[in-house]
């Protein structure tokens, strides 16, 4: 394959070792220095490790984008599918193989722009799988076009005078469309993100976790957001942990985001309904 040197063999101390979950022959990964997607990937693998998910019982589906590309480094069943359609693909996969744990990794462009339709209907159906939406407010992979989550006034290659479109709040859209578990966390809080992902994956129904991630190399540069450490530290100023809801009157900045579990609802899961229905029909001796 390639000529990359094998990583150093390390002793163990019982803590989570990400190397257990990586396709080491593909490392180092393709992402730019400081890109938040790498940290999000760590949190996901850490969550799966703590949930003791068996690699053979796991399917990770991803779309196109830097976000979607992260799935390629996971040492498990991974599917890198058409831009905007990982949820559609995952829906078919889960219906055919309900025994699998299905996780979808997607971007803001992938799930809210081109794949917005699939996003709404996945929330509505409530099939038992998890969407991890890596929101970096930009189309990173294609060089920095505006996305449905680009902050007002920010510069992208397609908004050279500043963005004047209003943004989508992915978590509010997900709740309105019927997702039964919705949460948000920033990459700065890696252990919290890991815990949130654990809850989301364990949830029976469709779960959405929006991850606030930094596109350091394109979005950061174009908007003078500072170097990688400055960008990730800036997340702290903007986040409002859900635990403190209503305790802070004035947001820390014009564009604050709540973190933590934002919604958790009880609604029949798609496959449960489907099974009950087919069972009832079978007992009746078929449909009309």
């Amino acid at each position: 394959m390639n000529e990359r040197p094998a990583p150093e063999k390390l002793p163990r101390d019982g803590s989570f070792d990400i190397r257990d979950w990586l396709r080491l022959e593909l490392m180092p990964h393709f992402m730019c220095p400081g890109c938040g997607h790498g940290i999000a990937l760590r949190a996901l693998l850490w969550a799966l490790d703590e949930l003791r998910v068996n690699k053979d019982d796991l399917a990770v589906v991803s779309g196109i984008g830097c976000s979607g590309r992260t799935a390629a480094y996971i040492d498990a069943n991974t599917f890198h599918v058409t831009h905007g359609r990982p949820l559609a693909f995952a829906t078919g996969l889960k219906l055919a193989r309900p025994d699998l744990t299905v996780v979808v990794i997607s971007g803001d462009g992938d799930s809210l722009a081109i794949g917005g339709n699939h996003f709404l209907h996945a929330c509505r159906r409530n099939l038992d799988m998890t969407l991890i939406l890596l929101n970096n407010e930009i189309y990173g992979m294609t060089g920095g076009q505006v996305s449905p989550t680009t902050t007002a006034e920010r510069f992208t290659t397609t908004t050279p005078f500043g963005n004047n479109e209003p943004v989508f709040d992915a978590c509010e859209v997900a709740q309105a469309a019927g997702a039964t578990f919705v949460g948000r966390e920033a990459t700065l809080q890696t252990p919290n993100l890991k815990d949130l992902l654990k809850d989301a994956i364990a949830h029976h129904g469709f779960s959405v976790v929006e991850v606030i991630s930094d596109c350091t190399e394109i979005y950061g540069r174009k908007n003078d957001l500072g170097n990688s450490p400055e960008m990730i530290l800036a997340q702290k100023r903007e986040m409002r942990p859900e635990a403190y809801r209503n305790t802070v009157d004035t947001p820390f900045r014009p564009n604050p985001f709540n973190t933590g579990v934002l919604a958790r609802r009880d609604r029949p899961e798609y496959l449960d309904v489907y099974r009950a229905r087919t069972e009832a029909l079978r007992r009746q001796g078929g449909g009309k």
Binding site: P11, P28, R42, S228
Partner: protein, 314 residues
């Protein structure tokens, strides 16, 4: 009863002054222990007995295990809601170090000190984040403290509560002890406690109150509970682990996140702009650098101090 003002009648000044002085009870502990519940019981009891009552409380960082205290003052006339330093008649501490912290508020000639020896180590007692570093928590034992107060009780109320089957009734046990230091009938205490505890726990709370009173009867005025184990708080004696930071040079992309985010400033970028450990002695093994490295180039291992590398990997 006629209202008494100070210096009303010069001849009876002492007795009058004593009668006019409110009784001051200071209740201290950390968030979540029930300081406020205890002070509500105290205040209601005094009110039922016809006294004027003033209560004031400070919650502080209560949610995070920070200090909580409540002043309860009652008498025929109470002016200020806060107790002046040195005027506390009874200091009731639900947590040991909180009791010590407020000791200088206790009146040396007439004050009574009542404390649970339960120790909750606050975050700021960790003055050095390294594994096995000594804690800044008080090392004073009940013996040291009881020798400095006129009347003092140090008991393992939390342990007693656990034996009663409900660790949350520790404060009711302490109320039992408190009841022996004040002049209210036992039935009154029981009636008020019943009013303030969840209906399902009334029975165990009433038993807990009795245990507190019995404890005083058994131990007399002063003396730590013999059952108390006052060895240093847990966490002090854990064997130190030696953190070691491994950097996969071929994976590092020089983003500088680990360098800027390490709380101890242990890391730097070398001449080739690759992350390098520069101050291993300062590393606490917190793993922040490992968590935040977007390229998985850092691995922090916390190996037992004496284990060789081969042993650890086995």
């Amino acid at each position: 009863m006629a209202e008494t003002t100070l210096n009303d009648d010069a001849g009876a000044e002492n007795a009058e002054a004593t009668a006019a002085r409110p009784t001051n009870v200071l209740i201290v502990g950390v968030g979540g222990q029930g300081v406020i519940m205890v002070s509500k019981v105290m205040a209601t009891l005094a009110q039922r007995a016809g006294f004027e009552v003033k209560q004031s409380e400070v919650h502080g960082m209560a949610k995070r295990g920070g200090g909580v205290f409540s002043h309860v003052r009652f008498g025929h006339k109470v002016f200020s809601p806060t107790i002046p330093r040195g005027e506390v008649d009874v200091l009731l501490a639900l947590e040991w170090a909180e009791g010590l912290r407020w000791l200088n508020h206790l009146n040396r000639s007439r004050g009574t000190f009542i404390a649970d020896v339960k120790r909750i180590v606050p975050p700021f007692a960790c003055r050095n984040r390294a594994d096995g570093a000594p804690l800044g928590y008080s090392r004073e034992t009940p013996k040291d403290v009881l020798s400095r107060v006129r009347t003092g009780y140090a008991l393992n109320a939390s342990g007693m509560a656990e034996r009663l089957g409900n660790p949350r009734v520790a404060n009711t046990i302490l109320l039992g002890v408190l009841s022996t230091a004040l002049d209210f009938p036992e039935e009154e205490w029981l009636a008020v406690i019943e009013q303030f505890v969840p209906p399902k726990t009334v029975e165990v709370n009433l038993r807990a109150f009795g245990e507190g009173r019995d404890w005083v009867a058994r131990h007399g005025e002063v003396g730590p509970d013999e059952e108390v184990d006052f060895s240093p708080p847990a966490g002090l004696e854990t064997p130190p682990r030696r953190p070691r930071v491994f950097i996969e040079r071929a994976w590092c992309k020089s983003c500088d996140i680990c360098v800027k985010m390490c709380p101890e400033r242990c890391l730097e970028l070398d001449e080739a702009h690759i992350a390098r450990m520069r101050a291993p002695e300062r590393c606490t093994g917190c793993r922040l650098c490992e968590y935040l490295c977007p390229d998985f180039a850092i691995r922090v291992l916390r190996l037992p101090q004496d284990a060789s590398e081969e042993e650890a990997s086995a």
